[in-house]
Amino acid sequence: MKFAYYPGCSLETSGKEYDLSTRAVSKHLGIELTEVPDWSCCGATAGHSTSHLLALALPARNLALAEETGLDVTAPCAACYQRLALACHELNQNPQLREKVNEITGRPFHGKSKVISILEVISSVGLEQIRAQVVKPLKGLKIAAYYGCLLVRPRAIQIDDPENPQIIEQIMQAAGADTVDWPHKTECCGASLAVSNEEVAIPMVSRILKAAALSGANCLVCACPLCHFNLDMRQLKVNRLRGTNYQLPVFYFTQLLGVAMGLNPQDLSLHTHFVDTGQVLKLVG
């Protein structure tokens, strides 16, 4: 299996655990990732908040570059995935608009490459295959799988059900973990507001942590660097500001998959989180 790989801006910095673990796990599963040459930012929320055309053109340049490799493209970051997939969808629906955008980017995108989330890429290996690679089952972990918004909404690009998705649970169960049923798995964490209006984001993070804790989870698993930073770093703030004492490490699903497959912990960057991961990982042994 071969894919063009669009890391996106966060994976070079605050989301480096996701980048490292995605590359390591993919390699182990025989998925070949080729970085999109000369990729640029997808525009994220700032782009579509400012101009519809810009929100199409910024991803379109990357879609065109990906297409030049002749491969379908995968983006681990949920925000990048949503932006690329939505642009791809809209440009394919509307050939006139595609012309216009191609003229703006100067790099024609023909709609040949598809955009696929890394969750789908990894699950397409097959749960049996994944199970066969597990050398250290994730026993003791009670996972609250957190999807956030961008992987499951809007409908045109959703990778799973927008209210009760299961794909992360399936992968984590195949790796030997327990998962909990809980109500906040697709509730927004407010990451896009966290810098500009932190006092609005804090209660949003707090609600999610509370629901996870009440469900009996001992960690959260996500698939987005924005969710990760918000739930990991701001967990300390929630505790400080609201007098709570949450101790819920937030993992990328690729990190735990790597643990289960016995990959080198260095390659999974398990100790660069804000909330300590050591205690929970000890349960796995």
């Binding site: 070079e12 994220a44 700032a46 908040s49 810009l54 703006i104 909404r153 500009s196």
Partner: protein, 190 residues
């Protein structure tokens, strides 16, 4: 609550514009309130999502474009997937934000920093082709008059290799700059 005089404020052109730009049949909203019930940011809004929809239907352009909600909307798209009338409410919010910006309206209250953040973010992309997190944050802090905001977090991140002092610029920087210019031009023509 302010009294709104309908006959004075109705603006047909506004209703049409919002419908056209968002591609949404705003007249279909029947005010069930489901969008508001599921909105994770409603607790901080000045106008609830269903009120925004109603006011668009009534052509209350000034009131809608001057609210904070259109800036605080986190684009989580929950309203959209739950609307029984299949209206993409999140797209309407996006459209209103874009219209307010185009009109040069100063975003009120909490909207101000949202707009500032977005501008900084896009500024970084135009300049470097990718988001330069450190510079973008520093700039945001300066412009909002809180130079040491998140300094400790930043240091921790630097130590753990999660923040870089520079950014890897793509070779196609000119291409990217060109995209921004061309979009600006194209939008002037509408």
């Amino acid at each position: 609550m302010e009294t709104i005089r309908l006959n004075e404020s109705e603006d047909r052109d506004f209703i049409e514009r919002v419908s056209r730009e968002s591609g949404q049949a705003v007249e279909n909203c029947y005010q069930c309130g489901k969008c508001t019930a599921g909105c994770p940011v409603a607790f901080a809004y000045d106008l609830m999502p269903h009120q925004v929809m109603r006011m668009v239907q009534m052509g209350l352009k000034e009131e809608v474009l001057r609210c904070q909600s259109i800036w605080l909307c986190a684009s989580c798209v929950t309203c959209t997937v739950r609307c029984p009338r299949k209206i993409d409410v999140a797209m309407v919010m996006d459209t209103l934000r874009i219209m307010a910006r185009r009109k040069g309206m100063v975003p009120p209250g909490r909207g101000r920093n949202v707009a500032l953040f977005n501008n900084n973010f896009l500024g970084s992309i135009q300049k470097y082709g990718r988001l330069f997190e450190l510079a973008t944050m520093a700039m945001f802090n300066l412009k909002t008059g809180q130079p040491f905001r998140e300094a400790n977090t930043g240091l921790t991140m630097l130590r753990r290799g999660k923040l870089k002092l520079s950014v890897t610029k793509p070779r196609g920087l000119e291409e990217i700059n060109h995209i921004f210019e061309k979009v600006r031009q194209a939008e002037k023509e509408v």
